[in-house]
């Protein structure tokens, strides 16, 4: 892939090829909507005709991890559900991206109790965070377009060839400032 090779030695053809591949991938998103809670209503609203998500090429949800490339985690994830989510994520094939939809999946939302996972980035790597309780469909489409930019560049939180250690040390883990204390 483009990440391993020195850019100066690449020919014009291969860079165009990578761009074409990124363009093709970003306009044919097969998402896995992992819907658990109220954010699912906003996901459905975004997917239906008024705020159409099919015009971005993401019109076909795939309810099998083997067939999907983007995992939309929609709604509160409880600690009982967390191993299931990790299994689904592990079963997906690369290239894969993860979207944290709704503030419960970003940081735990307004829940701070015995049952809720405080942000799914404690379990799986996340590419795009869409906050909101629930996020407006316009916010969802904005997040989707940011995801498309990431897909075009061929980068993802999962797929860096060196793994997550390729990021700078202070960004390698989730942002938990109190862990230094």
């Amino acid at each position: 892939m483009a990440n391993n090779v020195d850019v100066g030695k690449l020919g014009w053809t291969t860079t165009r090829l990578d761009q074409a591949l990124g363009w093709a991938r970003k306009f044919s998103i097969f998402q896995y909507p992992f819907v658990t809670a109220c954010c699912g209503m906003e996901y459905m609203a975004t997917a239906c005709s008024h705020y159409d998500v099919d015009r971005f090429g993401a019109g076909f949800p795939r309810f099998s991890p083997r067939q999907a490339d983007v995992l939309f985690v929609v709604g509160t994830i409880s600690h009982k559900m967390a191993p299931v989510l990790k299994t689904i994520f592990d079963q997906m094939m690369e290239p894969k991206w993860v979207v944290a939809f709704g503030v419960c999946t970003c940081t735990g939302g307004f829940y701070d109790n015995y049952a809720t996972v405080m942000g799914i980035d404690t379990i799986i790597p996340v590419d795009v965070y869409i906050p909101g309780c629930p996020p407006r469909p316009e916010n969802v489409l904005d997040g989707l377009m940011k995801l498309q930019d990431k897909i075009q560049l061929g980068t993802s939180a999962v797929m860096l060839p060196q793994g997550l250690a390729a990021r700078p040390a202070e960004l390698a883990g989730p942002h938990r400032p109190e862990e230094h204390l």
């Binding site: 191993p83 405080m118 379990i123 938990r176």
Partner: protein
């Protein structure tokens, strides 16, 4: 109304040895029973034609550990209250007597409804912390199956004779009972991932 208190009177005259107290909080008849007479009283209430309670609407539990000692349980005009003013109970608000002392920490509450007669009854059974066990009413109403599992999961009240008393909301490796007042609400026990 004379008719609404007749349900409490019916229970009191039929089982005088097990009724601790009766009242009508908020217009709903309530009977506080001892746990020994629970199954017999429930069967009577379901089968007798004057009561005909064929629906168990709800089965839940109350933990009285901090009752009266937190602002949420005894707000008044002068003490600071977490509620806004219009939600604070006023000084002559309706109160209910528990009928038992504070050594009974839990109370299992049954809400019964009769479709034929269109009347409701609330049964409360006080339990101590040392022995929070009670008979299961799954033989009377099968809706009690999952409701009792939830009470076991959240409060730790054992139901004798329940066919499948396992946790229903939390996972089996969860330690403790989550809705008890001495369980900190933010204490997570993750299966995978970091603690916080």
């Amino acid at each position: 109304m004379a008719q609404s208190s007749s349900l409490s009177e019916l229970v009191r005259t039929t089982f005088p040895q097990w009724v601790i107290a009766t009242h009508a909080y908020g217009g709903n008849d309530t009977v506080v029973l001892k746990r020994e007479g629970l199954i017999e009283a429930m069967r009577f209430l379901r089968d007798d034609s004057r009561s005909a309670f064929n629906v168990l609407m709800d089965l839940s539990c109350v933990d009285y550990l901090k009752f009266g000692r937190t602002p949420a349980s005894r707000p008044s005009i002068t003490t600071p209250s977490p509620l806004p003013y219009f939600m604070t109970p006023k000084p002559n608000a309706q109160v209910w007597e528990r009928g038992v002392g504070p050594e009974y920490r839990f109370e299992v509450v049954y809400h019964l409804y009769s479709v034929q007669r269109n009347h409701r009854l609330r049964i409360k059974v006080p339990l101590t912390e040392a022995d929070p066990a009670i008979d299961s009413v799954t033989t009377v109403w099968s809706a009690a199956n999952w409701l009792e599992r939830e009470v076991w999961d959240m409060f730790g009240v054992r139901f004798n004779g329940h066919p499948n008393l396992k946790r229903i909301l939390m996972y089996e490796s969860f330690q403790g009972h989550a809705l008890r007042k001495d369980y900190p609400a933010y204490k997570r026990q993750p299966l995978i991932g970091p603690l916080n």
